[in-house]
Symmetry: C2
Subunit: 649 residues, 2 copies
């Protein structure tokens, strides 16, 4: 068991604290640095973990300027190397996503209770801005379902889009402005980690809940109901559907269900055979054209079918004059902006990262946030509502072979042509087709595979997902989201509030100490009780840890009594996984030392990590431990202490 | 460097995952248990960390019944063994704290804007109830300054105690009821860890801020000002003091300042010579008697001095009929109850634990919460407001030699006698003496030594204390408290959101791997890059960790290039301190494996702890690592992989 470790004592360079006899490795303090330097390191770790300036190192001034420009306008990075081959791919993919973006734009605008034309406007200006500022090559920018849904819900609770049309529009643009401002600020202040607090489990539950609500709401269009609830919870929506039975229009239903089936089948085909992605990509536009033609030719015979109606021609009118920054509704606008902003940001960043990882390039989260934020701020001045990178359209973009953001420019041009010349064609487009398109799109948000994976790995995560799902369904979208975030944060706090404590034993013939329950061959060392604490020790868990460690010792003593073994004479605290400590944690250790001392038990600390060691040192608590209370490994501690016992009479 | 470790392969009992060649120790899964069992273990760890039922183990049924009764009524534990010697000590200490409790009770009631008599009522019923239910032997129960201050502030913001006297009283009793209900529920639901979220730093700052505000407010009484602000922030209080200069009464000032100096000097004497604790304990009552006598005899000559006036005689009238559970003010009552409840609970539990630790007995936090909660609920029905264990009086109680809670009963009897027979004596007691008593009491709440200790150990903790201090001073008491709790929680979240990652090196001649920056003799192993992650990996840090680890590898490669060393061929992730993982964390590992694989770098995991190992296993991610991706120690991983490289051509 004896371990012979020796190291050259080098007093001049080391900040060692010689604790045990010579020949045993000392536990070191980290190299001393000033508080200011420490703060600087800490802040750079918080705000610049990716070290964004590393490419500027060792460059000439002019090169630094070029790099800086390229940093803020990524278009300058790729534009000089742009080739005809790339353009060919981008045109194909751009036209493909345009064929999706036009029907989806109109549909999602309806989801936000906005005039359909706003959806088209939002598919024109934002993609152009993103193509200059954005660093993802595959993001297809435009309105998305979740943000549209949330904006529609939140605004409609205060203002009716039918009775107060102008106010509703003003609110939508103002909320979009604040969403953009919030997004850009997060990026500028490098607080991008805020969106990390939406855990995967939270998002899976939230998106599935939102998808169910949205799909059910579309029954309005699909069944041809005129009087529908303004509420977003499942109960009023369902009761609306079945209460207004007399409004159901059979023509609408038959046509709607047929198109829905076609769309779902094409979607399924593209899932099974990814190479046939273009089938599902082309289906929405084809359905719109077909259904519009049907309604136009049969308008004398089909009565109950509601259509979009006349849409104005021409590009985005300016809307900066519709923004407001005071008054009764400003609070609502800011709140809606914050929530839709963070949701659309989460989607945009996740989509960008996914496709960047597939093609092995880096997307800088904070830069992307600024791009998306600026895009929304400009959008709010040009009659656009909240936009971001859409998951479904970006996937189509990627599959269609997009190489750069030029595909977004191509898409914008296609939308421009539509806005200028093709608007009269939408006159007879039935609402039911928009509902069918929305249902098909949101079904993709229900990630049952992801949910199953979560269930398999972590039951508590699954619970968070479920709460988020039912919170959205039964209470409301923002509250469902708040519940889910709350549970995620609570889970983290609980993890640190009730950390694991693991009694260790030696694995015979080795110097390895491992969990007694996990390794059945691990054996107790007589007279020693070795326990590992697996969390930072701080105010929220120091009381618990004190109780728990004392209970471990009590249980150990009972066990020893039962087995007629010798008493515990030394408790070894393995602090390898104690990644931090605060003043309450330090109190715990001195308290524990005092209490064990009264019972003639020695307390020894093993391998405190750098930061912890430093704080123990500053608090002078180490003086309590006299000359031998700190070791680098459990094995060393056991060997040293046993031999010191033997040396005693 | 080669490590020869061998262990008997015992396939029948082990849940081993043979990952590397024979002769090397396997990384194990914890023993398999069902989800229900796991949930049970987890819940018992959350709610019953102290295993309160362990004393019931292996007992007969009748014994269990007795133990159970004793558990709920601790009085049954000590009453049978109570002796005359104990009684003698308890009578002395009980009378000592009574002499403090009577003047403090009257003063603190004034702090809560309640009639002084309520303070005496609150020093009579609650101590009696606590003596039956409570398990601390030294807690002196009664009104305390912080809870009184907070209740006074919160209620006065909505209701004026002068104009709506009855409503104010109703609100105070109802808030007390809710405080008790909340405290008892926390104890009953074993959610006592909620109070752990008030970290030491938070409390130091909060109490100091509250003490300053309270002390300044007492200038009203000390200067004899009639028109004083209702607000609690420092600016209105100070402007009130200097704005109403013409109301200053010189008689009040001279007398007040003299008594204040006497009280402060006696307090200082007791601090310097702890054996003379009785000097500061007797001072308040003596001052009250002296000042009352002075005012009574000189009343014809002293005009400006305000007195308490006539107080009703007799014991607590019932007040259950004054509680209300609906109406406009119910929200305020609940909010006030919650905040004063949690604050008084924190003080009571901390005081109980402090003195229990000094005398080496255990105080069960959850049981104490139920005792304090039930005491406040009964108090609210007998004209008492929020009470708890007072720090200052408990310290006197302890120093005066209290042995059991009988000292509380003695104190209650002394208060009873006062209520029945001595009330007319208070008629001429001047308000200024109450102010002087409050100032002397709250000065003890400013823990500058604690603040200095915090500053020395942890600058960020000190910042939390400062925020809490200034929040209370300049904004408001509840908001200051909220800011402090928020900062504490944020600190925890930040710690896990931006965890340390430490590159490790081998200490030559040993199998120990330690931080390269902390141990200068630690050396890199050629072709290996070893990095330790010091936190659970989960949604809030997985993005950061991915970026950070990739940056470490990039920096390592730059360093190697500079030193013309061989490239990194293997990255070893030391997971000893990764105490937990969730689905996002698992995604990180598979993503990292994929990205490193593309660059022909091998990724190896070392020593995942029990829970993490289990989740890695369930997620099937280990299949990515083929046959050799998991080792028990860094040394083993390095040895095995190097030898496998040598074996290759």
């Amino acid at each position: 068991m004896a371990i012979n470790v020796s190291v050259a004592e080098n007093a001049s360079t080391s900040h060692a604290m010689p604790m045990s006899g010579t020949g045993v490795l000392d536990v070191r303090l980290p190299p001393p640095i000033t508080t200011a330097k420490k703060l600087q390191l800490r802040l750079s770790e918080i705000f610049f973990p990716d070290d964004p300036l590393h490419k500027f190192k060792d460059q000439t001034l002019s090169r630094k300027f070029v790099l800086g420009l390229q940093h803020f306008l990524p278009i300058l990075q790729w534009a000089p190397h742009y080739t005809l081959t790339l353009l060919k791919s981008d045109v194909v993919s751009g036209l493909t996503i345009a064929s999706l973006a036009i029907p989806q734009g109109i549909s999602y605008a309806k989801l936000a209770n906005l005039p359909p034309i706003i959806g088209l406007y939002s598919s024109f200006v934002p993609p152009l801005i993103y193509s200059v500022l954005g660093s993802s090559r595959h993001l297809a920018v435009g309105p998305v379902s979740i943000a549209s849904l949330v904006m529609g819900t939140m605004l409609r609770e205060a203002v009716s889009e039918e009775e107060q049309t102008t106010l509703y529009l003003q609110l939508a643009f103002t909320a979009t402005f604040f969403a953009g401002l919030f997004q850009a600020s997060l990026g500028f202040l490098r607080l991008g980690f805020v969106i990390d607090f939406l855990s995967k489990a939270t998002l899976v539950g939230f998106m599935a809940g939102a998808a169910v609500i949205v799909a059910l709401q579309q029954l309005k269009g699909l069944l041809g109901i005129n009087h529908f609830t303004n509420k977003m919870q499942i109960i009023p929506v369902l009761s609306s559907v079945f209460h207004e039975e007399n409004e159901w229009s059979w023509e609408t239903m038959v046509m709607g269900v047929c198109f829905l089936i076609v769309l779902l089948v094409t979607r399924q085909i593209s899932i099974v055979y990814p190479k046939l992605f273009w089938i599902s990509a082309a289906a929405p536009l084809t359905s719109v054209i077909l259904s519009t033609a049907l309604v136009a030719f049969l308008k004398s015979k089909l009565h109950g079918i509601q259509t979009i109606g006349k849409l104005p021609e021409g590009i985005n009118p300016p809307s900066a004059n519709m923004l407001f920054f005071s008054g009764h509704y400003i609070g609502l606008a800011i709140k809606t902006g914050l929530i839709t902003g963070i949701l659309s940001l989460t989607e945009g960043i996740a989509v960008g990262r996914t496709f960047a990882a597939l093609k092995n390039y880096q997307v800088d989260g904070n830069k992307e946030m600024m791009a998306i934020g600026l895009m929304n701020m400009s959008g709010s001045c040009t009659s656009c509502y909240v936009t971001t990178g859409s998951f479904s359209r970006s996937a189509v973009n990627y599959n269609a072979g997009a190489q750069t953001v030029v595909s977004n420019i191509v898409m914008a041009i296609a939308v421009l042509i539509t806005l200028l010349f093709l608007m009269p064609l939408f006159r007879y487009t039935p609402n039911l087709i928009l509902s069918a398109i929305i249902i098909t799109a949101v079904i993709g948000l229900i990630d049952y595979k992801g949910a199953y994976e979560i269930l398999k790995v972590d039951k508590l995560d699954f619970l968070a997902a479920l709460c988020s799902f039912f919170g959205v369904l039964f209470i409301s979208v923002p509250i469902g989201l708040a519940i889910a975030v709350g549970i995620s944060v609570l889970k983290v706090l609980l993890h640190v509030t009730r950390p694991n404590t693991v009694p260790l034993g030696n694995i015979p013939g080795t110097h390895v100490y491992q969990s007694l329950t996990r390794y059945q061959e691990a054996v107790r060392i007589p007279s020693f009780f070795i326990i590992a604490v697996e969390a930072p020790i701080f105010f929220a868990n120091s009381t618990y840890l004190q109780e728990r460690i004392l209970r471990w010792i009590r249980e150990e003593e009972e066990w020893l009594e039962l087995h007629h073994s010798s008493n515990v004479k030394c408790v070894i605290l393995d602090m390898t996984a104690v990644t931090g400590i605060d003043t309450s944690g330090i109190d715990l250790i001195s308290e524990l030392q005092r209490m064990l001392n009264l019972r003639a038990i020695k307390l020894v600390l093993v391998n405190p990590v750098g930061g912890v060691m430093e704080k123990l040192h500053h608090s002078n608590i180490l003086e309590l431990f006299e000359s031998e209370g700190l070791y680098l490994t459990v094995g060393e501690a056991v060997a040293e202490i046993s031999s010191s016992w033997k040396a005693e009479p």
